[in-house]
């Protein structure tokens, strides 16, 4: 790649940053109250929030990672996208409307609704912080890896500087814009991303005379695996254990998506349950279109660039989409694709920072430390300070993890969300008897079992691609813990509830059920 190319990348990216910062600044002149900071005053429409939801969810891992995984592993790469699309049905039918009706700012609002406030809120905040920070470090580290490819920055100092710049810009979004600004960044980014992959897809499939089959045919010729890339098993089919690992991953993807804290928090930016429902409908459409496109882009990259060239490039699998863009559209298209990838990282990390800061300020500071008596202005100040701390943590973590194999962090975030959050949310919404002990057991049971299983998994030690390849304490054979930790968390929540002598509060249960379905008592229209 040439210097001129880097200049184009940098200028497209620079324009995006300046434009979004300006919009964030304009959107946030009255960004003072807690409701403004956490939930954008609930002023977004379902359509806007739906686009922002897809923006929050489509990380660089989805764009570069999935198209790359398809370009290299074919069918097995495609499986991720399916889980991520299907997962939105859980969000749509079970979570979105009840979440909007019962809570105000955080996931803790819903989990603690009919339980003892302080322990449950502390647990919900712990889950939120752990999940968000894991997810964020993975994004930041990925940002460093991308630089090598996109900006031609190879020195570790240079990459560290870029990670720091990404971190600072995203903290600025959050501090200046709060939820409103962050939402606009997500909307701009999601539109750019979906538009550019759609155009690229139409162009690619046009090159093959709008014949997907012909494209696949060409792809199999360019892959060392031949016809096998179109069949399952390239990545996960080698043994019974890898197949089990694959099932575990599939489970975490479909159950984790709709319980990621930064996705849940989005439902508060709309005024009522009907708009929350519309957001998910929009998000689902965006996802289905986006992931259909990545299928074409992935196989297109395999056909036009060739698997060998992709795996040989700096950045490996992740370089499939940029290399393809360069192949079909030269430096300008490459610049655009790279800038969109940057924007994606930036926006997702901003969303995560906001979620983590809201959870600390609203659940831990206002409700656990101040016992619900905090001054709202003070609460927002705490949230902003937390955002800066989380930002610094993400920058440091991102630099430390730069170049590491961090894919497991993303998988872990999904498994954590599916095991700590989903059982708790479903129980508290749908099971009358569920009580405080059940809540604590299911959150902490899911959280700790997930983290422990990851620590003792091959992702951390014992194999060539581990973080510590030289030592071996991989007692748990699967790299994804979901298949064990998700049922475990459901079980823990059940046992905690029936073993507790403290009965559920029936009045609060009535209130939560009525409010969840109708919004009565929430003040929402």
């Amino acid at each position: 790649m040439t210097g001129a190319n880097t200049a184009i990348n940098l200028s497209v990216f620079g324009i995006f940053v300046l434009l979004t910062l300006y919009i964030v600044y304009r959107a946030s002149t009255r960004n003072v109250s807690a409701s403004d900071y956490y939930a954008a005053g609930s002023s977004f429409t379902g359509t806007q929030n739906g686009i922002a939801l897809s923006g929050d969810f489509l990380s660089a891992a989805s764009f570069l990672g999935i198209s790359g995984a398809i370009a290299v592993n074919g069918y097995d790469g495609f499986l991720y996208s399916i889980g991520w699309v299907v997962a939105w049905l859980i969000g749509l039918m079970l979570i979105a409307e009840r979440m909007r009706n019962t809570g105000r700012y955080t996931m803790g609002d819903v989990m603690a609704f009919r339980m003892r406030q302080r322990p449950v809120r502390a647990a919900a905040a712990n889950a939120t912080l752990v999940i968000s920070i894991f997810y964020m470090i993975a994004q930041m580290a990925g940002a460093g890896g991308l630089m090598a490819l996109l900006l031609d920055v190879h020195s570790s100092v240079g990459q560290a500087i870029i990670i720091a710049v990404v971190g600072v810009v995203m903290v600025l979004y959050v501090l200046v814009g709060g939820m409103k600004g962050t939402t606009w960044v997500q909307i701009i980014k999601a539109v750019l991303l979906v538009l550019s992959v759609s155009l690229l897809t139409i162009f690619l499939i046009g090159k093959f005379g709008f014949d997907f089959s012909a494209m696949l045919d060409r792809a199999t010729q360019k892959s060392p695996l031949g016809q096998a890339v179109l069949s399952p098993g390239v990545k996960y089919g080698s043994s019974g254990l890898t197949k089990l690992d694959f099932l575990s991953l599939a489970l975490a993807l479909v159950l984790g998506t709709a319980s990621l804290p930064h996705v849940l928090m989005r439902f508060y930016t709309v005024p009522n349950a009907r708009e929350a429902r519309r957001s998910v409908v929009w998000a689902t459409w965006m996802m289905a279109i986006f992931y259909s496109c990545t299928l074409v882009i992935g196989f297109g990259a395999m056909a036009l660039v060739g698997t060998d060239k992709i795996t040989g490039a700096p950045g490996g699998e992740n370089s499939a989409a940029p290399l393809l863009a360069f192949q079909v559209g030269g430096t300008v298209l490459l610049g655009i694709v790279c800038a969109v990838a940057f924007a994606t990282i930036l926006a997702v990390v901003a969303g995560l920072t906001l979620t983590a800061s809201a959870s600390f300020a609203h659940d831990v500071y206002a409700n656990v430390i101040k016992r619900g008596e905090a001054d709202p202005r003070e609460e927002v100040r705490v949230a902003r300070i937390t955002a800066v701390c989380v930002g610094v943590l993400a920058i440091v973590g991102g630099i430390a993890a730069n170049g590491q194999n961090v894919a497991f962090l993303v998988a872990l975030a999904f498994a954590l969300a599916a095991s700590a959050n989903l059982p708790t949310l479903l129980y508290s919404m749908f099971w009358k008897r569920f009580n405080t002990r059940g809540t604590l057991w299911s959150i902490y049971g899911g959280l700790t079992s997930c983290v422990l299983l990851i620590v003792f998994s091959p992702a951390i030690s014992g194999s060539k691609s581990s973080v510590f390849p030289d030592v071996d304490f991989a007692y748990f054979p699967l790299s994804n813990p979901g298949i064990v930790s998700i049922p475990l968390s459901f079980l823990a929540g059940f046992l905690g509830t029936i073993l507790s002598k403290e009965p559920a509060d029936p009045a609060k249960q009535s209130e939560m059920e009525v409010r969840g379905l109708t919004g009565i008592g929430s003040g929402l229209r």
């Binding site: 069918y75 495609f78 499986l79 399916i82 889980g83 699309v85 299907v86 939105w88 049905l89 859980i90 749509l92 039918m93 079970l94 014949d211 997907f212 089959s213 012909a214 696949l216 045919d217 199999t220 016809q227 179109l230 069949s231 399952p232 098993g233 996960y236 089919g237 197949k243 694959f246 099932l247 599939a250 479909v254 009907r274 429902r277 519309r278 998910v280 409908v281 689902t284 459409w285 289905a288 992931y291 259909s292 299928l295 029936p506 009045a507 009535s510 209130e511 059920e513 009525v514 409010r515 379905l517 109708t518 919004g519 009565i520 008592g521 003040g523």
Partner: protein, 136 residues
């Protein structure tokens, strides 16, 4: 807040039994807050709950079963999934794409069902506690 309420009393028996006494049957308690226990057992709310359950339970089971089938077939029936269907496009890729299609179909069906069958019922239940909301 309490003094702003003209004549509020807890319904003697929960539910629609109070319709006879108050033409604008308010399911609100002595403090002007909605009486959630009474609403929860009211006929209108139970009907809403039934309508919600009737859709989301079968739909959730259906899409989970369909997804799990796809995942299991991919893991343990690779040969079947590799059978070519249209040119080089095989059963697995087609089924994967159909997952997208069914997701969209269920999403739109739910949106439609919610608009036609759930939202009007929600409005009915909300009317039970309307005055309480306005005064609160």
């Amino acid at each position: 807040m309490t003094k702003a309420l003209p004549s509020v009393s807890r319904p003697a028996t929960p539910g629609f039994a109070t319709f006879d006494e108050h033409p604008h049957s308010l399911l609100i308690d002595g403090d002007g807050e909605p009486d959630f226990g009474a609403i929860q057992t009211s006929e209108d709310f139970l009907a809403l709950k039934r309508r919600v359950t009737r859709f989301i339970v079968p739909a959730t089971l259906l899409f989970l079963a369909w997804y799990v089938t796809f995942v299991l077939l991919s893991a343990y029936a690779a040969d079947f999934m590799s059978t070519p269907l249209f040119g080089t496009v095989n059963v697995g890729l087609t089924m994967g794409f159909l997952q997208f299609v069914t997701t969209i179909i269920i999403t739109m069906a739910y949106a439609r069902y919610a608009k036609k069958r759930l939202d009007p019922q929600v409005d009915k239940v909300r009317a039970l506690a309307e005055t309480a909301e306005e005064l609160a």
